[in-house]
Amino acid sequence: MLTLFLLLPVTGAVLSLFLPEEKQHDAKWIALVFSGAAFAVSVVVFALFNASVPGYQFVNTFEWIAASDAGFRIRYTVGVDGLSAPLVLLLGLLSVVSVLVSWRIEVKAKQYFAWLLFMETAVAGVFLSLDLIQFFLFWELELLPMFMLISQWGSGRRLYSATKFLIYTLAGSAFMLVGFLVLGATAGTFDIAELTAKPVTQAVVPLTFVFWAIMLAFLVKLPTFPVHTWLPDAHTDAPTAVSVMLAGVLLKMGGYGIIRIALPLLPQQAHDSRLILASLAGFSVLWGAVITLRQTDLKRLVAYSSVSHMGYVLLGVSAMGSLGLSGAAMQMFTHGTITGLLFVVVGLIYDRTHTREISQMSGLMHRMPVVGTVFVIAGLASLGLPGMSGFVAEMTTFLGSLDAHPVATAAGIFGVVLSAGYILWTVQRVLHGPATDRWKELTDATSWWEVTAMASLVFVILAVGIYPALLTTAVQAGIAPIAQIMEGVS
């Protein structure tokens, strides 16, 4: 089942590459069909996921590299638990959305969709892998499509941004590999479940180094101050769909990695680092928020807000307790939907106005009520309005982290206040105000693909906000064993 989820997008990618040149606009249909099928699979997985069964489910495994000695026994193992199941669902959904918002891609369409689908497979692999080397493989696999997508279909200084993304991520993941190898060499296995069951306590290099080597990659991906500056650039110059995927699922790879690997595999070191992590988290929240306040570029603004919001993930993690971790896990899901939606909307606006400068816009609500309304909904969700998914996640995070890190939590809560500031100010400048002649010709987003993309995300945001048990059941099942490990450490 999960292998199917992995293979569907890449199959679509290959098929779309083999389309004849003159039919390359049919690539979008291929992409839609395959990402849709993958989405269907992810829905089935999520629906069939049994929260009362401990451990991983839907496991597929076989011996991939069975080297005789040299400690290089690597299994192909995919499986989901309550932590990854929501992310898989999110990935399935956002992939469909990103195909939809790319509907009007004209330039090199078949390559575009091929890379997009390829990226879906790569990210899926990260969420599904239960083997460190396999995890690393997919982690690296995602780089190339991302680099290509930004550097070709982006705008502005796209090559610079793509390269920056690449270098940051590679620099981070490089050390992660070292960390993985040390762990694997010490334990004699790369299997995450085995390593979780029996954490390594002694290795050739101090385990603190190993922990930070691994964390660096995740912190870059998250991203956390001071390794965050690739994100605004990447977002700003990326095409809409890529921004959606980037904010929606790629950043989650960082948080997911922390919760799945860094914490349970090195609980003691994680525990010892919790103050640093909390400080980074609180700082990131505020740092991202104050910078967001003064952004004049719409996409950059949403990008910096992501820095702030992903700080909550780290905040929840740094509490190292069940609630904080659950909050972090939920925040990943909700941020994916909310910021994904924001990027969809911003992309739709950009498609029509061809500018991202906030100062150039005014009164767009008059011209595009649908887009405007969705923008407001996404914005409100982003600022943590109750009734929408973001609130539940943030609240859970704070409830989990206050006891451990009061100051960082206070900073986090203040970040919520600031988020209201930048979101509403943006809404005011972009949507409100008098309707100007310049945007007289703008049309609203009423095509089926645009409406579907927006509506599906709005639906998820509201559904989780109003009835969080949709998410929490799975999350609790996934977090419980990890929290147990972390709470057992002193």
């Binding site: 967001t292 008059h366 609130f391 500031g421 005011q428 105000g433 048990a469």
Partner: protein, 646 residues
Amino acid sequence: MLLPHIPEAAVWAIYAAPLISFLVIVVALRTRPLLAGRFTIGAIGVAWLLAMWALDTSIGLGGEPAAFHPHHWLTLFKLDVEFGLRLDGLSAVMIAVVTSISLLVQIYSTGYMAGDGGYARFFAFMSLFTMSMLGLVMASSLLQLFIHWELVGLTSYLLIGFWFHRPSAAAAAKKAFIVTRFGDFGFMLAVVLIWVKTGTFDIAEINHLAHAGEIAVPVLTGFVLGLFAGAAGKSAQFPLHFWLPDAMEGPTPVSSIVHSATMVAAGVYLLLRFFGAVEAAPEGVRTTIAFVGAFTAIFAASMGIVATDIKRVLAYSTISQLGYMVMAIGLGGYVAAIFHLFTHAFFKSLLFQGAGSLSHATNTFEMPLMGGLRKAMPITYWTFLIGSLSLSGVFPLAGFWSKDEILADAWNHNILLWLIGTAVAFMTALYMFRAIFLTFFGDYKGGAEPEHGSHGGHASHPHESPASMVAPLLILTVGAIFFGFFNVGGMFGHFVEGALAPELRHFEFEVNPVVLVVSTVAALAGIGVAAAIYYAQRPQSSVIRGALGPIPGVVEHLYYVNEIAEDGVVRGLLLGVGKLAAAFDKYVVDGIVNGIGQATRLVGSGLRLTITGQQQAYSSLYVLGVVVAVGALFVLGGGILERLAP
């Protein structure tokens, strides 16, 4: 009493009715505005009827909480969030107030908003607001309360910015939300803190624990101050008061309900809801609350005296009256606070609707553009006058009774606060009658031209508003006149005290003659001064202005609070820090990254120079490499130094 005990479902229905109205409008009635209005009125009418039933039940229970069981909303590890209903004296009164005023305002709005392009949207938002407000007051859990608290804030935002094409409205909406959010920072901290320390969100339990001394003092202090910060934001207490006047950019019905009667009272309600905790908090905390309230009261009143926009006058008045209530809470005057909240809701709603009626005729809220409307709009005039008298605390109108209750509490506890309160009573009468004299007396100044697309009539010939607007005025006037009598003898007080733990109930109705006389004299003095200056024009207002030097200027600039907040805090501090942070990102973080990149390339260019194209260079490098390698290994691995040493 009259009716059987209300079932839980019926109480939920009070909450659900406006929600259904909202959903129906959003889904089906967007393009059928008239139907939307009627549907809203119907839904809120149902809610009102049920609210009356609930009130009746609650009275039957003597204000004691009805036994409803909470329901699980979110279960996650040790976090178990339960949502439920709390129907007791306090919430029953609030439910009744909210539904009543809401119903009247909806009716009023059908007239006021007639012809507006966003008619359906207006009623949708109004329904949503009513639902949120009801959810807020009925909540049995702190988190549930907080959620609706935020939703109320949202609807307030949406409604203030209802005419979003007006930059001022858009700005005001944003300001309202953000400023109250600053208060919510404290509230949210309080919510998180109390759960972390007690493990419960249940309001009754928190009150109980606090009162039983089972919450550590620092935690309790933090909790109460956090709640107070939230309350200060929502109830516009200094220094978070400055959003409320701007909020008058919203349609007048909105001001009438959201920004006078109900939402702004939510802060007061919050403190009352947690009265047990507030009482248990250290003395200093309560004193702080009382003084903040008192200061807000006099501070806002002073601005009310110089404002020229009638809605702003009323807004400052609202702030001032909320200050009263907050002061009362700080003084332990639970009943006084809620009683004033109750009466204030009616007469302030009435006054706002009166102001709306005025603008309906003149297309403006600027008092200098009105004048002499007494004859053209008699009903508006009379109802407005009664409302003003009630607000000023003139015997025997509603405001008299409730205000006196507060002043009596102040007299009993803190004479300084009583003095301030009395001064505010004087100022209240002064600014209200200044408004009356400026608008209803003298000559008509012609009003203003209608804005494009708005609802106004012909300003040159002002006339009385339609029945749909006048009828609510009349109904509210009844409240403004008579509702003060509810507490004569302490009936109201004992009822609302039913919501408290028994040991906290200490209300007794008493009449303090000194307070009564002094405040009445103060109010009458205020009316007299207003009449002298603005009716008789002896002395003329400009003369007084001159005599006061720079003070009126400062007041007219609202003590520069907006400037401090916007230019100082927002632009200077936040944006300044943002600018610095962005510069740090750009020059330091990116600088380092790009610097490393540049340095690497530079090193690359340098290394490239070693490949000179000349074979000797290559071989030299080769042999030198060998020499260095051998030498290094001799030293490191071979121990050559020891061997060479004699």
